[in-house]
């Protein structure tokens, strides 16, 4: 029995500490995935909280055919997607990044790390979430294609295609924002 299963058992036996251990273990990972998907600090925390509340209420119905993390990441993807859909924006939100990114006028001008980071976040926010989710699971969380296919309930070929499309989008956006180079 792995660590997650032990925590789940504890929780299902009435000890809320089991659930709290799961939150502590996954909170930063979940926050970073959500932030990469929606691009907003404060709202990322709110969505992370919403994700764990769904876990709290749904854990007793979690059938252990898959790993807990797979189930959790699926909730993350659905909650982030739901958040963007509610706002009528399934691409992402770059408005929060508007003031933090200064578009380069001269392509030869080198970018500082902070500028590059801000530019990346802005470019990421422009990538449609239907492609971006797979790329975020791959590059931020380091999951394999097969794990991503289980989370997104699609074939490995579809995961490959989504990641390819997301990187093409991201590259184009970075080129546009950066004025010439990735």
């Amino acid at each position: 029995m792995n660590e997650d299963s032990l925590y789940i058992e504890e929780f299902l036996n009435g000890d809320e500490k089991g659930f709290e251990m799961l939150v502590r273990k996954y909170q930063d990972r979940i926050l970073n995935i959500i932030y990469s998907l929606i691009g907003k600090d404060r709202e990322s925390e709110d969505i992370a909280q919403e994700v764990f509340l769904k876990v709290y209420h749904g854990l007793r119905y979690f059938r252990r055919h898959s790993r807990f993390s797979t189930w959790l990441y699926r909730i993350v993807a659905n909650t982030a997607y739901g958040f963007l859909r509610k706002r009528g924006n399934v691409v992402g939100d770059e408005s929060a990044l508007e003031n933090s990114v200064t578009t380069r006028k001269d392509p030869r001008e080198s970018l500082s790390m902070k500028e590059r980071e801000a530019m990346l976040q802005k470019a990421l926010a422009r990538v449609p979430i239907k492609f971006k989710t797979a790329m975020v699971f791959k590059d931020i969380e380091g999951l394999s294609y097969i794990e991503i296919s289980r989370i997104l309930r699609c074939s490995i070929g579809t995961v490959e295609s989504k990641i390819y499309r997301a990187r093409q989008f991201l590259k184009d956006e970075m080129l546009e924002l950066g004025g010439g180079s990735v």
Binding site: E20, V23, R24, Q27, D28, L31, N32, Y35, S36, D41, S44, E45, A48, Q49, F52, L53, Y56, R116, E117, L120, Q121, L124, M135, V136, K138, D139, I140, S144, Y145, E160, I163, Y164, R167, L170, K171, M174, V182
Partner: protein
């Protein structure tokens, strides 16, 4: 060019080390002889590196746990209020009924316990064939004062 298009679509998978040996060898052979695809490959690799190296956010250990605890407590309070409000509606409508039944029963029991036992029953009276007035019937039911 068609080969380049095919390879370009596979570059992400190659970059992610999700390819079998045969496909990887094929991509590497193409990259060795194609500067355009090689350039595309190095751009994708830099991009992947940028995404992977983005600054990671961390939360204080119990920050989210506390927020979730509060949220669950709020939910429970809301459910409690809802239940009490629901109980109130039922209470207003239904509680007077059992109360009234209990009061009537108690009064009836007190009243009947104060009556002496009758010598003859209502059935005896009926079978005797005598005409019964309302007063006589009540006396037989509730008990005679004599």
């Amino acid at each position: 060019m068609r080969e380049c298009a095919d390879i370009e679509r596979r570059l992400s998978r190659y970059l992610d080390k999700e390819m079998n040996d045969a496909d990887r060898a094929m991509v590497e052979a193409h990259l060795a002889g194609c500067p355009l695809c090689k350039k595309e490959m190095s751009e994708l690799a830099r991009l992947k590196g940028l995404v992977m190296e983005t600054e990671r956010k961390t939360l204080p250990r119990d920050y989210l746990v506390c927020r979730i605890r509060e949220s669950i407590a709020d939910e429970r309070r809301a459910i409690g209020r809802l239940s009490l409000a629901g109980m109130g509606i039922f209470a207003r409508r239904l509680i007077p009924v059992p109360v009234a039944v209990i009061i009537v029963s108690v009064v009836f029991m007190i009243f009947t316990s104060m009556q002496p036992v009758t010598k003859s029953s209502l059935e005896d009276y009926i079978f005797s064939g005598r005409a019964a007035t309302t007063e006589t019937a009540l006396e037989l039911i509730l008990g005679s004062q004599n």
